[in-house]
Structure formats: C-alpha cells, structure tokens
Amino acid sequence: MSTEERAVVVPDLCLVVLIGVSGSGKSTFARRHFAATQVLSSDVCRGLVADDENDQSATPEAFALLHHIAGVRLRGGRLTVVDATNVKAEDRASLVRLAREHDVLPVAIVLDVPEGECLARNAERPDRDIAAGVIRRQRADLRRGLRGLAREGFRKVHVLDGTEEIDRAVITYEKQYNDRREDTGPFDVIGDVHGCRAELEELLGELGYELRRDERGRPVDAEHPAGRRAVFVGDLVDRGPDAPGVLRLVMGMVGAGHALCVPGNHENKLVRALRGRNVQITHGLERTLAQLETEDADFRREVEEFCHGLVSHYVLDGGALVVAHAGLKESLQGRSSARVRSFALYGETTGETDEFGLPVRYPWATEYRGRAMVLYGHTPVPTPEWVNNTLCLDTGCVFGGRLTALRYPERELVSVPAAQTYYEPARPFLPEGDAAPAAVPGRRDDVLDVDDVLGKRVVETSLAGRVTVREENAAAAIEVMSRFAVAPEQLVYLPPTMSPSATSTRPGLLEHPAEAFAYYRGEGVAEVVCQEKHMGSRAVALVRRDGSGVLHTRTGRSFFGADLTAAFLTRLSTAAEKAGLFEELGTDRLLLDAELLPWSAKAGDLIRNQYAAVGAAARTALPAAVDALRQAADRGLDVRELLDRQERRVADAGAFTEVYRRYCWPTEGLDGVSFAPFQLLATAGATHSDRPHAWHLALADRLAAADPELVRGTRSLSVDVTDPTSEAAATAWWEEMTAQGGEGMVVKPAANLTRGRRGVVQPGLKVRGREYLRLIYGLDYTEPQHLERLRERSLGRKRGLALREYALGIEALERLARGEPAWRVHECVFAVLALESEPVDPRL
C-alpha cells in the first residue's frame, strides 16, 4: 500500500464540488481539508430549513439556501466547498452555472468508494436510514457521469479511487494565472502598438530601456537598467507596418522577464487565423498575415503559441493595479471565466452599433468604483484621460496619433508621435476642431452614483481612520445636496463643525479662554493662536484666476445669486492677482475658508423672524408684567421676588436686542459685504493644512490690503500656554472684544494640523462671549439658576463630530489634490453634510 501523498491541486479561488454517494466520506474529507466555514453541506442546510437533516422533502429549499450562501461567498472572492452527493448531472450543472455566474472555476473532487463500504458506514450511523437500493442507484449515477465531468464544465477533475487514495489526499493550492499581486513593479504600461515597431523602439528609448538586437539588427529584447518592466496592454499586431517586428521584440522581452503582456482582441483573432479557423480577414489582419508570410514557419508557430498563451489580464502590485486590454470592472478582476476573458478583450458592449457601424461600448469606466487602478487600451482616444482611477492608453498611434506609456506607480505619461498615419480609422478618433471625442457621450469622470452616497457609508480618512455615516443622515443629506447645493464639481469642501471650549465654572460665565488653553496644554501643544471670531456666516470660496468659481455656505448652497456671485468672484480674483497670490503659489485657483459678513446678509430672515421677534415679544410682554406686579406690590401683595426677577429679565431682553443688532447692517449688492478669509484650504494640486496659521493669516492680510472694502483681515494673538502672562494678555483681549458684543475668539494650534496624545487634536476651539451667548442660550441664560443647569452640557459628541468632520474635510482636499475621481472627493464632502445632521446639542 502506498503512503505517498496524493496531490489534489485546486485554484486558490474556486468552487469545489465534492461528488460521492452517501457514506463515501465526503463530510469527513471536507472537515479534514477545508475550514468549517468554507464547507456548505446539503445536510446542514436541510437541518436549517426543516430542523431535520434527513428530511428529503426539504431538499429543494435546502439547495436554494446552499446556492444562496455559495453565491454570497463567491461574490466576496472566497473559496467554497459544496458537500452534497452531486451524483446527478443536473445537480452538478446548477453548481457549474453558479461558479460561472461569479466568474470562478468549478472543480470536481470525486470520492469513488465501493458500495459495500458505503453501506457499512451508513449502517454505523444511527441517525441515518438509507436503503441499499438508494446507494446502489447513486453509485450507478456516479459511474455514469464520471467521464463527462470535464465536458460538463469542470476545469479540474480529481477522482480519488477508494478509501486508501482518499486518505492519502493532500490539497494544494495554485495561484490563478492572472494573480501577480506579489509583483510590485515599477512598470511602464504601454498602449496599443498595432505593428508600429519604430515608434515602439523610440518609446522604449524614451522610457530608458536599452534595446538588444539580433545579428540582422532587429530588436529582440529591451531591458531597463533600473529593472523596470514593460506591460503591454495588447493589440500588438494588425494595421501597422511591422507586426512581426513588434512581436519579436515583445516576445523577447516577455521571454527574458523584462515585460508582461496581456492579449488584445487582435491577438485573439490572429491565433484563430493562424490555426486556420474561419475568420474575417479585416481590420488590418490582412496586413499582419501578409507580413508573417515573409517570416519562417518556426516564427509563426512561436507567435501562435505566444499569443495563445497570453493571460486575459493581470492583477499586480498587491491588487493596486490591473492591466487588461479593454479594461475590467471590479467584479471581474482576478477572476477566471469566459466572461472575464471576453470583457478583457472586447469590453462591454450595449448590443447597439453607432453611426459608423461600430459596436457601442458600455461606459464601464464612468461607473468604476474599484480600488485598483485599471490601465487599458482598445479604444483610441485623442489624449489619455483619467476616469475614476482608470486610464485608456490607446492614443491611436497607427492612426497617426501617438504611442503612449504610463509610468507606474509615478503616474507619469510618456508618449511619442506616430511617424505617419498607417491606417484610416473607421470612425474619426482625433477631434476635428473642437468636436468631442466619440467614445462616450456626455459626462465621464464627474458622474456620481447614488451608491456613492446613500445608505450606511464608511469613508476611509488618513487622519481619523474609518468614519461612519448613518443611513438616515445620508437620506437627509441627499435631499439638501440634490436640491440646494452647488454642482458637485464645484463643491470640493465643506467646513467642519467646531466645538466650544470646556465649560467654565467662573461666576456668570459659560465659556472662558482658560479652558481652551488648558486643553491644548494637556495635548502637549505649547503655542496656540487666538483668532477673532467674526460674527457672520461661514463661507467657502473657490476662486479661479479667470474670475470664475463659487461662493457657498456650510451646506453647499450658493451664497448669492448668479450676478452677485460673479461680481464677488471677480473682485476677489482681482484682489488675489493684485496681492500676487496666484503667481507666488503657482496656482490658478484658491480655495478659501472664511466668514462672510454681515450675518444679516444670509441670515436676514432668520434674524427678523426669530431673534428680532423674540426680542419684540420680550420687550412687549416683560414691561407689562412689571407694571402689573408693581400695582400688586402697591396693594401690599408679596410679589417682591417675582417683581425683581421680571425687572432683571427686562434688562436681559435689552442686552439680547443689542447683540443681534450689532451683526446686522444693510447691504446693497456687494456694498457692505465683507469677506474675512482665515485659511487657504487648497491651491491647484496642493493642500495647506500643515502650514502654520500665521502663514494663512498673512495671506489673508495681503488680500485685505489689496481690496480693503471687500476683504477684511482677522485679528489674532499668539499665546504660549505655558506662560501665564501670555495667557493673561489673551484673556484680557478676549474680555475686551466680547464686552463690546464681539462673538469671541477661536483658539487653534499655531502649527495648524497637529497630532497629540490620541491622534489629531481639535483643529480649533471656540470661546464665545458672555453677551453673544444670549443668542444661543436664551435671553436670560445668565440668571444663576439657568446657568447652573446649562453648565451640565456635555461636549463629547460634539468633539468627536468636529474631529470626524475635520478629517473628512482634509481627506476631500487631499483626494482632490491627488487628482482622484470626482466620486472620491464627493464621498467625503457628502459625509460632512450627512454628519451635520447628526443630533447633537446645537448650542455647542
């Protein structure tokens, strides 16, 4: 008896179908070789749906459940083992279908055990009573189907003959051909060559490769001194002048390990033509075949073998890069099926043809949301254009365009022009004048899908890790975003909420600078900056050098109508130009975080209908109450205490009225409007959250100097929180400002984005003035009995929210600077808006 291991090789992602009669030991086999969670047993499913593993009447429902779970697992890319008899062809057919639906390979493992043994095992099991006839029938079915398994669609079939061989079996896994995740590059990914050998030589030269030539001077290999490798996206042949030359070079590079290559549809067709299949000799194939005629038979055979052996696509660099000729949507990446190959070679078509008779391609890239960068060719475009982290590198060299490569991971494009037009395209691909490229009508990269925003969402941020958005908050946000916000391409940032300082215990006060200083000291931050808090409305301005842009509110609404917005942006852009900001920062745009004054400019209705109204009611009702109480007191009734209280409330109502009046003044057009920027959020391709606040405020001052009527600076004071004198000066400054009715100040780490003991520290804490807080906590919140209870406020949620929104805002800016797809930026911006609808105490 042999003790040698019996190797059973299966792909690392596949659907394993165990086949064997009752009692053949399938469950034991599965238990021994696979994790319990990988095995789906029909018996267990019968138990789940009918409380009885032997209830044969539950079989249809049990299999429905088994198929469902298997589908969920396969969709998630998990190897799955089906433990059922599977002796009938129709049972196996449904499993093969399931594997194909999820683009994984079906694998059969047959446990072929003699009937007698099965009967004996069944007899040992008290829970099971299976007639001998049943076993016999099952075995007959099994034997009948055994030879046809490959025909049924199983890509690997392992027949284990008898108990002895079964016991010796050892499962070994093999990677799929397309799985080269361990290969991290760097790569130079090269677009469709189509027989343009000269341009390919030139491009490889540009990329730094050194060509090796054979004795006849023909290039047969190219090697990069730094070990970079080329990746060809396919369509090496057809239409162009020297397909054999291109093949010789690429085959040499691939053979030498200097390049990878995926097949294009043209290679696919070439193989079939070389094998004598009946194919239409069109679309440039005639040229390749003619060119190959002059080569010898060995070379033609090598070409046939090379093209036939190409793997549909590659998954590279830990899954961060996918190369496929026509691109590949996320659900097919790293999978194996005829469908994967078809998509990789031809892309997805809608089944329609366009006015030139060419198939209309489904714009899969506009919907692409995968993590992997996808590089592809297939459809010539005038210039490569990133669409959701995918890039088409076919720039129509053979049609007189260019041959293009992308350096990975650098994301740098390198291209050489075609020496001439070698072939006339069926459809013009280079734009005539300003005509749009024909590939996809309308919008591409900025298409947003509800799946990008709706439902419970988790957004990955570099500052705060995973930030979760609840479903109901997303539901509220989508309405605001859809109906009121400016267009998403203009809306790249929403400001985060800000927490107040911890509650002060000083008499008559709810907030005081001391707590803000203490917070930063505790976080190990020594230097902070106190910035005057302008009482207006938070505003974000995106201003471009040409005067275009947007000015929006905290929820993304446009501040003004179109005309006033245009006037505002022109003024701001002129000021920035005058201050030399565009020049100095090397940018054509500025994204500014600011406060827009007066408060009444945006909140006019709110001030009138709420604040002024409450004031009016108080100023009318309270004096009347005082009068009535005085009369009663004159009659000798004991209402002294009540009367005193009403008299104090009259004074509070007056103070309240003074506060809101301070933030209201009339505006006419831009006259009276004042813009107070305090942070430069982003410029073209850059964020500035790590620059000290002093830098930001200096820029703001220069803007203010350039247009003092429109732009105002922000007063600030630098504080060393370990120096009581420094703190006292800042406190005095705060007291002075707030005594005059000023809103207060914001205390920020001087260095801006700062990490403390537990991650990022609060980017700012507001310390609001005593009088201002009447607008927030009520007219007479300063009454001791009110104040005492108000001090019980809890800041935890607000702080948490402020940090999460801050992280999301920074994330949006960074994604924007990296040139990431619109949906990736929008996801963060949307999440900020959604979090803003979280229920937290709005007075904080």
């Binding site: 899908d449 309405e479 109906r483 209280r645 607008l775």
Partner: protein, 484 residues
C-alpha cells in the same frame, strides 16, 4: 407671558369667587412648563383685575421635549418666544389654574356663573399668525369688542415691519367661563405654531372647551384645523437641523403649494384658480397618462414623484404592471406611502408599486430597464447647472424607452392675474422656460442621447401665449423628424 382679566361688575371682587382665587394674596401653581402666578394688580368694589403670569422655564422646556427624542432639536427651541408671547403654554396654564371657572362652577357665587359680566382682557404680546385681522376673525363673532395692534419687530429697524405679535385688548359682556374657554382655544389657534403638547385626546379637549360656541363659529374649520395640526417626523427633524446649520429658518418646501405672490404661499393654487373647470393638474395627469399609454409602457418610473401626485392614477390603471416612485425627499415618500395606504393595499396591488429615495443628479442602477420614466414638473426645481447631471442619469444611465417631461410654459404666466410680473409659479422653481427654450433643450438632449422628441401643450391653449404647461415625449432609438 401675561394675561389679565378685569371686570367692572359691582362688587368687582366677586371675580375672585368666580375664579376660585383670593384677591388678597398672590398664588403660584406649578405647571409642566414652569410656574403660573396668579395675582390681582387691582381689586376694589368697582374694578378688579386678575393677572396670570406664566414663568416658563426655558431650559426645562427643552429637557421635557427631550424625552420625545429631540436631542439635537432645532436651535429655535432654545431661543424662542415661548417664555414671552402668549401661546399654547399659557393656554395650558390657564386651563389648569382656572379649571373650575372654565367649567362654570362657583361655590360662593353660583348665581353669577351664568350671568354675562362686563369684562376686559389684556394680552400684551399674543403670538398670532395672520396678525390683527385674524384676531378680529376669531373674537368678533363671539361678541367681543376687539382692539388689536401689531407689535413692530424692532423700533430701530422700521423697514423690518411688524412682528407676529399683537397687543390685544378685548371687552364685552360675557360669562366668565365663556371668556376663559375662548382664550383657552384662541391662544394655540392664533399662534398656529408647534404645540409642545399635542396628544391623542386633543380632540376631546377642543370639543369640551368649544361647547356652546365653536359649532356656530364662522371660522370653525380654520380653528379646528389649526388646533390639531403640527406634528413632526424624525426625518423632518434631521432636515431642520441642516437648515439650521445654514442659518436658514427652514428649507424651502418643494411640496408647498405654488405661490400667489412673492412673500407667501397662497391659500389656493394660482394655476388652479385660473384653470377651472378642468384643473391644470388633472389635465397634466391626463396628458402624461396618455403619453405613457401611447408608448405602450407597462413598467414606469415616476421620477420626482413627491408626495405622490401621479402615483394613484398610475396605480388605478392595470396596464402599468410595475410602478416605481422615486424622490429625493424621504419625507415626501413617507407622505406618499401614507396617502397611497401602501401598507394596506392588497398584495397584488402592493407588488405593483415601490417607492425609492434617490437623487436625480446621481445615476442609480435601480432605475435601469424601465419602459418609461416621467419627470412631471421636476426639472424646473433643479438649478440649470445641475440639469446635465439629471440628463445623464435619466437618458444616459437609466435609459428608459420613453421619457415624458412636463414643465411650466413661462409665457403663460401673464395670464395669472395674481402672479406678479417676472415671478415664478412656485418659490422653489429655479427657472421657467418659454416654449422655444423648452424645445431647444429637448432637441439637444434628444440628439445627444439618441431619443426622438415630440412636443405637446398641456392645458387650454391661449392663441398668444400657448398652453399653461408643456410636455416633451422622448422615444429612444427613433429619429426626430424635422418639423416643417
């Protein structure tokens, strides 16, 4: 907030017996929202005045509401007029403090209970939606002489105009119980704002307080409606919080009826008023249904279905085998589901209709593969720069075979007498198009996405300005014949 009630009945101090409150001392009663003080500023033989002063605890007010899940309630709850202006809170206090008097019970002066006495009421700040005129409409039919003066918002800003508060003085000869019951109902009704106390037995309370006078009151319907409304859903609150983040009072309501004039919603619908006998809305429904039937559509999406204007008509026609109502507002869908009684439909009917939240400027795979999509009075609620996104989402991504779009014809607006020149029909409209503008848009979209376009008028045609509404029917894959 303060309310005084005086009488010149002799002896005036009998008022104390009728109210069960001794004029010789100040009393206080604890109520759910604070403390109610009762005292008499004057009390002699010829004139007696009782004052009810409710000291609201503003912080306690919010904390009580928190039990109902309003953590994160709108800021308006914290700085609001409740502690000052007479409203439902005062009504509750009045109900409690003078409960026997309201029922017409007096141990000491039973003979006076049913006698009309000379009475005066003074409320220095009464919260009133509709201003002095509404006060007159409420009290005058009840036999009161009414003196109502609007309180200005801010004397230093005369341009801001009047506040919603009215200084009210009433005088007349009435039974004390009636006077109290009038006030008990009047305060919340005139205030017409959020009650903090609407609960299931409000109807009972209203009937009791209104017995003997409400049934015959000319404004009975208005009073009842106002008394019983104002409830908020959870989604509504989330939306309110967002409005507040933006310093706005409330988001403009796309569900609100069209405006009659800038500045306020009309009681009726401008369009309806001008379009009797067959209302335009019905004509529009008819036209849309006709277009769907003519296209042979069975599976249809109503994009921007709102509270479900069209859905019942679709549901009523069995040729539509699958109906999908889509709106960006979760609140609108809640209303639609309630109106359609979705949870109570028979199973077969229920299977035909689904409601779905989605934003029309976002693509949505769930909307793919339908026979027809309706955009009835939807596009004009989108800013013009968002339209391309909607076009792509509908014509490029959802790709229904037929798309029916209706929108107002702005040329017709001159025929609405109540609509000021240049104003749109609805406050949320971002644009309204002429026939030419609509035709140009439809043509461009049709060409870009491969749809043939037919244009139709909706409503009765005016020889000069056309029909009030206009419709475009897009058919996929056909080509538009160039109109002569």
């Amino acid at each position: 907030m303060l309310l005084t009630l005086s009488t010149t009945h002799v002896p005036a101090t009998d008022l104390g017996f009728l109210l069960h409150k001794n004029p010789a001392r100040a009393q206080q009663t604890s109520v759910s929202t604070g403390t109610a003080h009762v005292f008499y500023p004057e009390a002699d033989e010829h004139r007696c005045t009782v004052a009810l002063l409710l000291e609201v605890d503003p912080i306690g007010l919010v904390r009580t509401a928190r039990a109902g899940g309003t953590e994160g309630a709108a800021l308006a709850q914290y700085v609001n007029d409740r502690p000052y202006a007479a409203s439902s809170l005062l009504s509750v206090a009045l109900g409690k403090v003078f409960s026997s008097a309201r029922r017409g019970v007096s141990k000491e002066r039973p003979e006076l209970v049913d006698v009309a006495l000379p009475l005066e009421v003074h409320i220095p700040a009464l919260s009133c939606s509709g201003g002095p005129e509404m006060v007159h409409r409420f009290f005058a039919p009840l036999g009161w002489r009414v003196e109502a003066t609007a309180v200005p918002l801010d004397d230093t800003r005369p341009e801001w105009g009047d506040s919603r508060y009215v200084e009210l003085r009433l005088s007349g000869e009435l039974r004390v119980a009636d006077a109290l019951n009038h006030l008990y109902v009047a305060l919340p009704v005139l205030d017409d704002a959020k009650h903090y106390w609407v609960d299931a037995d409000e109807i009972e309370k209203l009937l009791r307080a209104g017995s003997g006078w409400l049934a015959a009151h000319p404004e009975r319907d208005l009073i009842t409606r106002r008394y019983l409304r104002h409830r908020a859903s959870l989604t509504r609150r989330a939306i309110e919080r967002l409005a507040e983040v933006d310093d706005a009072e409330a988001l403009d309501d796309a569900l609100a009826p069209p405006v009659a004039a800038v500045g306020g919603p009309a009681d009726g619908d401008v369009e309806e008023a001008a379009d009797r006998p067959v209302p335009l809305a019905l004509q529009r429904h008819g036209a849309v249904l006709a277009a769907l039937r003519s296209a042979g559509a069975q599976r249809v999406i109503d994009l921007g279905c709102g509270a479900g204007a069209l859905l019942p008509a679709l549901l009523a026609d069995r040729t539509f085998t699958e109906i999908l109502g889509v709106d960006v507002s979760a609140r609108a869908l809640e209303v639609a589901a309630r109106r359609l009684r979705l949870d109570r439909l028979p199973e077969r009917q229920q299977a035909r209709i689904r409601l779905l939240q989605s934003g029309l400027t976002y693509t949505d795979a769930r909307l793919r593969g339908y026979d027809a999509a309706v955009l009835m009075e939807v596009i004009e609620h989108l800013d013009l720069d968002r339209l391309p996104a909607l076009e792509h989402a509908v014509f490029g991504a959802a790709v229904p075979t037929t798309v029916v779009v209706t929108t107002p014809n702005v040329e017709f607006n001159v025929r609405y007498e109540s609509l000021p020149a240049g104003a749109f029909r609805h406050r949320d409209h971002r644009f309204e198009w002429t026939r030419q503008q609509f035709a140009d848009w439809a043509g461009t979209v049709g060409e870009r996405y491969g749809y043939a376009v037919r244009l139709l008028g909706v409503g009765d045609e005016d020889p000069v300005v056309g029909t009030p509404s206009q419709m475009a029917v897009f058919t996929r894959g056909a080509t538009t014949e160039v109109a002569a």
